[in-house]
């Protein structure tokens, strides 16, 4: 289980409306309800995780993110969050555009494929990486669109998305010194705060 990155709560305004795409068991939203008194909604596919969210008193709707967010109004939320899910979506580019249509800001985290361990496994050993960050073998993985800090920033530019904040954390959601200095090589998890270029 990957913990959410430490920066996220700092980027959420108190009493704001927050949508979490792929909210899992609702841990992040429940924490933000507690600390930031947010108005929270989660989207999740797995009924067991939906039940876990309900246990926490959250509102959660079963929805396949690959089908888009067309049932949401423009700018309905202050922040739309997607943690460790972008790489598993069929069209990450469309997902990002939709996030910034329904939300004023977006927070996105994903595994950085250029992390040094992946580079070693692919570049030196000649294998698709399998490790705690990317635990699945290539033929059976939900992670179909892996990218790096650099790739992601190029996409943002193409989509006219402005990067408000950029950071990295390890899999436990903690800051690492090396990752902060050299994110594309030493950052395990890429963490971005985004908005639409005005």
């Amino acid at each position: 289980m990957i913990s959410h990155s430490y920066q996220i709560p700092d980027w959420i305004a108190k009493n704001s409306r927050v949508l979490d795409l792929g909210c899992g068991d609702g841990r992040l939203l429940a924490q933000l309800v507690e600390t930031h008194a947010i108005d929270a909604l989660g989207l999740e596919l797995d009924p067991d995780k939906i039940a876990a969210c309900l246990d926490l008193g959250l509102s959660v709707v079963q929805q396949d993110l690959n089908r888009g967010l067309s049932n949401f109004n423009d700018q309905q939320f202050d922040t739309v969050i997607m943690t460790q899910t972008l790489q598993a979506i069929r069209r990450p580019d469309l997902a990002l555009s939709e996030m910034l249509r329904v939300g004023r800001e977006a927070i996105v985290t994903f595994p950085n494929f250029a992390y040094i361990r992946n580079r070693i496994q692919l570049g030196l050993a000649g294998h698709m990486p399998v490790n705690p960050q990317l635990p699945n073998p290539w033929y059976d993985t939900p992670n179909i669109h892996l990218s790096t800090f650099r790739d992601f920033e190029e996409l943002c530019q193409t989509l006219s998305i402005r990067i408000l904040d950029k950071d990295t954390s390890n899999l436990s959601g903690k800051r690492t010194w090396l990752g902060t200095v050299w994110p594309n090589l030493f950052g395990e998890v890429a963490v971005y705060r985004l908005t639409k270029e005005s």
Partner: protein, 378 residues
């Protein structure tokens, strides 16, 4: 699963204040047949209203007379430790106006004529039922329901409550329902009504004057309805192409499914009043809180003040998941707290009545939270 409620006893509650009806006319007085389970707490905050569907009634849980009888229609979901936990909640279930299980309806005596209403019983709507239920709540001393729950036509009542009496609903669970019927759905109801009306024993609804019932028409109506409440998968699993059972009447029957439908039709026509069936299906057809789309659904729901749980079932084609999702999307757009799951089930529309682990897990999690929000312990 948890213990049963045991034997429960319905109560007939009289209401002497006239009730004006949505589609015109009024009822000068009426009775409601009611069952309650569990105990109303001192703050009177733990009441849960259960709304029945087309052919349901007040007997939602427990047993009448003895546990060897058939339990109430939602017995699996209502009782001690169950989804609607009677150790925590005071559960109220009633037979709706126009029904044929004890509440005032076509079988009751019209005080103006001294005769049974029969076909002259006024048309009642979901909104009328909700008003009558609100008066029942007043009678019970319940200012606000902790939750209002229902499946199918019952879910429509829960939805109407959230719109009409937002301050009196803490949570609404809307299961296998729709914001209004489609043409196809109305068409099925019309076939059912025509089956009844074309029965020679119907006599324009005055069959009581002739000491008969339109049993064949009501049976046929039920057979059609029943097919639409099941799924291709569940009928295939239950009957396939197997031959009739030898221990039951098999005359003129070629397949087990035919025998089953006939049996269902006969059972139903013996217990259900034809005029009530027509009235209930009309209430279903007319239900439309958008007033024929003159008000968009998100706007209709913008004044609601409760938490919502919406549930649908994958093989339900009478009230398909996409219809439930219309309610969900409208609530999202209205910025209301809503939770939703499309539950995997082979049982079609009837799935809302049938035991299922995931359904129970999600329904119970929602209801437990309703209880917790009252200040109770989880």
């Amino acid at each position: 699963m948890a213990a049963s409620l045991g034997v429960v006893t319905p109560e007939l509650i009289p209401f002497e204040t006239p009730l004006a009806l949505e589609r015109g006319g009024s009822l000068p007085r009426y009775d409601l047949m009611v069952e309650t389970y569990g105990t109303l707490n001192a703050k009177k905050s733990n009441a849960v209203l259960v709304c029945h569907a087309l052919s349901g009634d007040h007997h939602a849980a427990g047993y009448h007379e003895s546990e060897s009888n058939k339990p109430g229609w939602w017995n699996h979901y209502i009782g001690p430790g169950k989804c609607i936990d009677t150790d925590r909640f005071f559960v109220v279930s009633l037979n709706n106006l126009g029904g044929c299980s004890g509440s005032t309806g076509p079988l009751s005596t019209d005080p103006e004529t001294g005769k049974a209403y029969g076909p002259s019983f006024p048309e009642v709507t979901v909104l009328d039922w909700v008003h009558a239920q609100a008066r029942l709540a007043d009678h019970l001393g319940v200012e606000k329901f902790a939750a209002i729950v229902g499946g199918s036509l019952g879910g429509m009542q829960a939805l109407q409550w959230s719109i009409t009496y937002p301050e009196r609903v803490g949570a609404a669970a809307i299961i296998a329902a729709a914001p209004r019927l489609t043409a196809q759905n109305i068409a099925f109801n019309e076939v059912a009504r025509q089956a009844i009306m074309r029965d020679p024993n119907f006599f324009d609804g005055n069959y009581a004057d002739h000491d008969v019932i339109p049993a064949s028409g009501v049976g046929l109506a039920r057979m059609v309805g029943h097919i639409t409440y099941l799924s291709d998968v569940s009928m295939g699993e239950k009957f396939g192409r197997s031959l009739p059972r030898a221990d039951r009447d098999a005359e003129g029957v070629n397949f087990a499914v035919e025998q089953y439908l006939r049996y269902q039709g006969e059972q139903f026509s013996g217990r259900f009043d034809a005029n009530t069936y027509i009235l209930m299906t009309r209430a279903l057809d007319y239900f439309d809180p958008t007033l024929n789309e003159s008000i968009p659904l998100p706007q209709v729901l913008s004044t609601t003040a409760c938490k919502f749980l919406v549930l649908s079932f994958t093989t339900d084609w009478r009230f398909s998941p996409s219809r439930s999702e219309e309610i969900v999307d409208a609530l999202i757009q209205a910025g209301k707290p809503v939770s939703y799951t499309r539950l995997e089930s082979a049982h079609g529309h009837d799935a809302f009545l049938i035991p299922d682990a995931t359904y129970e897990r999600i329904f119970k999690a929602f209801m437990d939270r309703v209880h917790q929000d009252l200040g109770g312990n989880a």
